[in-house]
């Protein structure tokens, strides 16, 4: 029963060695994951004033969060961001991967390096940089937009509630499009070349080849990237925090407030860890539900 590997029949090891190798993980996980996890369940039903005082309040935390319009604002913003990462960023990433995939020369490695490079920079640093790039009159983005379409030199991206989410989406796109492209590129390289050749010989045009051969072949990676994108989107926090320093990461009229920012505000800034914990569970439930839907869709199309 204890042997799960069929290919290498090994004798059952009786010594202490594997347990010793595994012990640090178990110990630290018990203390810093499992115990806090149990605590997180309890905390969600308590009101805390700093870590010192705790009062049981039943479902009040959830009731408060789920009736708070600010929470729905945050949820709406975060969902908007998630929507654009899945339906704008991922298609662009896939497109770039397709453009790079046919190249056999050194150029592929070169472009891959460039496109991936923003991902080396931490979200805080990207936020700081783009916060300045978005400034009216002198910011690089406004200057560029002005040159291209003759509009927007004085646009206050980060001070205008209507443009805050687009600014966050653009920044996220710059940061992560290359990261997602790497996954698509790796998947495209493992697509069976003979299948592609056969489709071409049968007279399929490039679009048909992509839709009927390439996409089905890489669908597992597509699902993986979509799920991780959604999970990442719902945990967005550091980027808007540094991007919108004047409004402490929330943007004018909370136009850039994300759910994790809301959690941070309620739990750590306002000091009610119980409320923060409840927000955490709600976010976790949303992420879990969306991932489940994704995986289910993937199974149905198998």
């Amino acid at each position: 029963m204890s042997n799960s590997a069929p290919r290498a029949p090994r004798r059952l090891y009786k010594g202490w060695a594997p347990y010793l190798f595994f012990a640090p993980f178990l110990l630290l996980t018990a203390v810093f994951t499992i115990y806090p996890l149990i605590n997180a369940i309890i905390l969600a039903f308590q009101q805390t004033n700093g870590p010192a005082s705790r009062v049981f309040v039943g479902l009040d935390n959830f009731r408060y969060v789920l009736t708070d319009p600010t929470f729905y604002k945050a949820l709406g913003n975060t969902t908007t961001y998630a929507f654009f990462s899945v339906f704008l960023q991922l298609p662009l990433a896939l497109g770039l991967a397709l453009l790079l995939n046919t190249e056999k020369s050194r150029a592929k490695g070169f472009f891959r390096l460039i496109l991936f490079s923003p991902n080396l920079v931490g979200q805080i640093f990207v936020g700081i940089l783009f916060g300045v790039l978005f400034t009216p009159r002198y910011g690089l983005i406004n200057r560029g937009v002005q040159l291209l379409i003759g509009w927007g030199l004085n646009e206050q991206w980060l001070g205008n509630p209507a443009l805050v989410m687009p600014a966050i989406v653009i920044t996220g796109l710059w940061m992560w499009v290359g990261f997602n492209m790497i996954y698509f590129l790796a998947a495209l390289q493992s697509v069976d070349k003979t299948l592609l050749e056969a489709a071409r010989i049968d007279g399929a045009n490039p679009f048909q080849v992509f839709w009927n051969v390439t996409l089905p072949s890489i669908r597992h990676v597509v699902v993986f990237v979509v799920v991780t994108s959604i999970i990442g989107s719902y945990q967005l926090f550091e980027l808007p925090l540094a991007l919108l320093p004047v409004t402490e990461g929330k943007g004018p009229d909370n136009s850039g407030l994300t759910v994790i920012m809301y959690l941070y505000d309620q739990g750590f800034s306002a000091g009610d860890l119980g409320l923060g914990s409840a927000v955490g569970w709600i976010v976790a439930a949303i992420i879990f539900f969306l991932s489940l839907v994704q995986i289910r869709i993937a199974q149905l199309t198998d």
Partner: protein, 309 residues
Amino acid sequence: MNAVQWFLLLVLAVFGVLYARSPARPKLAFSYLRWVTLIGVSVLILAPFLWLVAAAFKDQTVLNEYVFFPPLSEWSQQTMNLGNFRRLFAGEEAVQGTVYFWQYVLNSWFVATANTVLQLVFCSAAGFALAKYDFHGKQPLTVFMLGTMMIPGVILFAPVYEMMVKLRLVDTYQGLILPSIVSAYGIFLFRQAMQAVPDEMLDAGRIDGCTELSVYFALAMPLVRPMSAAFCLLTFLGQWNSFFGPSIFLQSQNKLTLPVVLNQYINFYRNDYGVFLAGTLIAIVPPAILFFALEKEFIGGLTSGAVKG
């Protein structure tokens, strides 16, 4: 119409001409379009970096005068200098006395390096145990380990913070580092890599008198070096850039790491943004050097978990 618009029109016109010349097999036209797109996207990606470098070295007074660098004819001490860096490193008064910027760089190095070394040891050891031994309880332990990967981090922030307060570990590096030195994902990666290590080699070592510890350390570890390099790079990068943990757990000004301090500086130096841009440039140089030195391992490690499965 300005120069940029004319240029884009020209790019499109060239495509049109190429396509019109052989509409039946427009191979050249599309190859041209591909290169134009790739170069264009690369320019968009690189422009902010170039702008950052320029801004960090431009004098305060001319920061907004030139888009990128000043023209070479106007290049002088008055336009390009190290003034931003001088002000950045001048030191600031805090409750703990004067704190200099290099202190934060050092703190970031320490936290990221300590974390990486500890994670490397613990994750590879646990991965080795799962890959190379059959022992009582292996299956439930594996399931448990994979299960912990599904616990979302967001619900643990509040209770872990509360625990750190009780353990009096807030504002210490132990409190910051301890919760993150084992990762189920790391163990999983090392388990995959260690499975390729031949059993016969390890057995030969045992016959020659190696202890289990030295079988792991002296025989198995050198064989998974590419995986180790990728893992270290990913971990170091993650820790170097990490913000949420340090911003919650660290309080004394002289203990802060770069992301936390630079986030403070956006407000401190609101009217002198050359200073925090210089700091940002310093913060992104070490990861860039590491990445360009170890690029192949890095990309390999990144996708190894996803594509094969």
